[in-house]
Structures are given as C-alpha cells and as structure tokens.
C-alpha cells in the first residue's frame, strides 16, 4: 500500500460538489453559485467587517474581495456614528448578514437576532453564542438551543460552530441553513487546526459548509475549499493585514483556486515516489570508462 490513508483533501466529492473529472466550474461566476437557503451568490468569500481602520478601508475591501455577503454587529446607538456603515454596505450593493457577536447565552443571542431583523429587515443571522472571552469558542448547548428557537421564529440561521461533526449534524437537524465551523479561534490566524474534522463535517452534511474563523492567509482559505467547504468567511485576515486590499485580492483568488482544485480531484498522497516519466524506451548507455 503506497498511498497514505486519511487524506482529508481526497475524500469523495459530496453532494453539491462536482466529482473528480467533471468539467471544472467557473468559480466566482454565477455558473457555480453558492446557494444558501435558496439564495444564490456568485462569490464564495464572505467578508466580516470587523477590524478595518476606517469605513473607507472597509468599502475598498468589500469591492476588491468581490464578496456579496458581509457581516455586521449590533451595538448601542452612538449618535455621532449612526448609519454610516449601513450606508457603505447599501452603496456597495451587497447583502448584510447580522451577527450576534458578544452574546454568551441563547437568550441574549435571540434578542439580538430579533433586533437585527427589525433594524436591517433581514431574517438572516450569523448566530454566535460564545463560552468565554479568552477563547471565543462556541458554547455548544446554548448555540443549539438558540438555533432551534430562531429557526422556529422564522430565521435563516447560519451558526458559528466548533469543528465537531456531531454538533454540525445537530445544527442541521434543527433546521439551520448552513454550518460555519471554525478552523481555529476567532482572530487567531492559526489556520485550520483539524482538517480531518472539517472533512468529516463536509462528508456528513448536505448543508453549505462555510469555514468561519482562524484563516490567517490565502493558502489557508484555499485549503478550506480543497477540504470541500462551500465558502470561507474572513474578517481579521483581511482587515488586519498590513495591506487589506492586497490580502482581499489574494484570498479571493485562493477561494476560487481551492474550489477549482477540489472539483479537479487531486492525486492521492504516496509515501514513495511515482515517476511521471515512463521507464520504457530508456536507452542503455553501457559501461563507459569514465
């Protein structure tokens, strides 16, 4: 046995992903749309708006990233700042995905989602219920409880979740529209700590899988897509890069490249070499003196 088992990037293509050898999709175009709850997006890169130095920088990054769905958070009204971020998003022509960042309980997350629905006239919510402020890791029981109640209240729920495949299944069971597993903790830039779990989540759910946290640079976004994720959400990786626009462009290309590579069907990993040049016809040079 010369191939290495358990290559997470080489699992059979799940439903919704073209099998190996199928014609490559034209990623980033409407011919290979990302479909969430019946809504189609040409871009597979979601942009988190946190961390940009200014609204101008955020507007530039939205444009360069090609993202069509961007997150916002809700906080108490600051009369000096009111409205401006929504003006930028409306002018950019992209859809808004409100989040429940900062909520520690299902109860607070539900109220926040209901406020977001009223403020932005959307029933979509990126559901975040975190367990503590040091790890910002999801609180699984609270998350599942909030997801179920928000689905029952008519929300399109996109939960930020751990890389636990069982929790992803439970979130699917209660009616979520996608799952958004973390690669590593929010803002850590550690990439994808457990690619095997991401691959298992991909394998076990029919929902869109959106890699949500931990991406630090373009190669990690490409890796997420090669693992079979349907999309990637980046915030800090772009907003806190030295040159956010350059990184937005890089990650946009990486998401498209990773999508294409996934559908292309990569070769298996092997422990030993396998020549790509045939031995047949190899000349015999005999025994020379030198």
């Amino acid at each position: 046995m010369s191939t290495l088992d358990h290559d997470p990037t080489h699992s059979p293509a799940p439903p919704g992903v073209a099998p190996p050898h199928a014609p490559p999709p034209a990623s980033g175009s409407t011919r290979d749309p990302l479909v969430i709850a019946g809504r189609a997006f040409g871009s597979r890169l979601l942009l988190g708006t946190g961390g940009f130095q200014s609204l101008e920088a955020m507007a530039d990054a939205i444009r360069v990233s090609g993202s069509e769905l961007v997150t916002v958070a809700l906080r108490r009204v600051d009369p000096a700042a009111r409205g401006s971020i929504m003006d930028v998003i409306v002018n950019a022509g992209v859809d808004v995905l409100p989040n429940t960042a900062g909520c520690y309980t299902a109860r607070d997350a539900i109220t926040t989602a209901q406020l977001a629905r009223e403020a932005f006239e959307t029933n979509w919510v990126k559901l975040e219920v975190i367990g503590d402020d040091r790890t910002l890791l999801p609180d699984a029981p609270e998350l599942l409880d909030a997801a179920e109640r928000l689905v029952d209240d008519g929300f399109v729920v996109l939960p930020y979740t751990t890389d636990d495949p069982i929790l992803a299944r439970r979130l699917e069971d209660v009616g979520c529209a996608a799952v958004m597993p973390l690669g590593s903790p929010i803002g850590s830039g550690m990439g994808i700590n457990n690619p095997y779990n991401i691959a298992i989540i991909r394998e076990r759910t029919d929902l869109p899988v959106i890699l949500d946290a931990g991406i630090g640079t373009a190669s990690e976004a490409a890796f997420a897509m090669e693992l079979g994720c349907d999309a990637v959400l980046c915030a800090s990786a772009i907003s806190r890069a030295h040159d956010p626009n350059a990184m937005a462009r890089a990650i946009r290309g990486a998401v498209e490249a990773g999508r294409l590579a996934r559908s292309a069907g990569r070769i298996p990993r092997r422990l030993h070499a396998e020549a790509s040049t045939p031995d047949a016809g190899m000349p015999d040079f005999g025994r020379g003196d030198g």
Binding site: G50, A73, L74, R76, V77, A119, E128
Partner: protein, 69 residues
C-alpha cells in the same frame, strides 16, 4: 416624571412618554434607518414606537450596526 434606563443610563421622561421620546434623546427618530429598539427585552417594531408608553423603570436598548464579525 418617569425614570427609565436608556442604553444603560438613567434618564427622566415626562409621565406617559413613549419610545419616540426616549429615542429622541439619542437623536433617533422613527425615520432613522438601521436602528432597533427593545424595551425590557422585547423588540418594539418602529411602527409601534409612538404607541408604546414607557413604564417606570423600563429598560430601553437602542441599537445600530457597527463593524463586526
């Protein structure tokens, strides 16, 4: 007078004041886009602001979008 907490701060309103009077303290009107109000954790749709009288001790939260996530 009616005492309420508005975004965490103690504020005084005339008796019988509605949500409209409270949010006005934050320069918000029913025409302001992208804001939402909860009173004692219940979302009050903007169409009901002028009909919602605030009780003594009401907790009023007025929120808007910020960069995040």
């Amino acid at each position: 007078m009616t005492s309420i907490r508005l975004n965490g701060e103690q504020r005084e309103l005339t008796a019988g004041a509605t949500v409209v009077a409270a949010v006005a303290l934050l320069d918000v009107t029913p025409d302001t886009r992208g804001v939402a109000v909860a009173v004692d954790r219940e979302v009050v749709p903007r169409g009901s602001w002028d009909a919602t009288v605030l009780a003594e001790g009401a907790e009023v939260e007025v929120v808007m979008a910020i960069q995040g996530g």
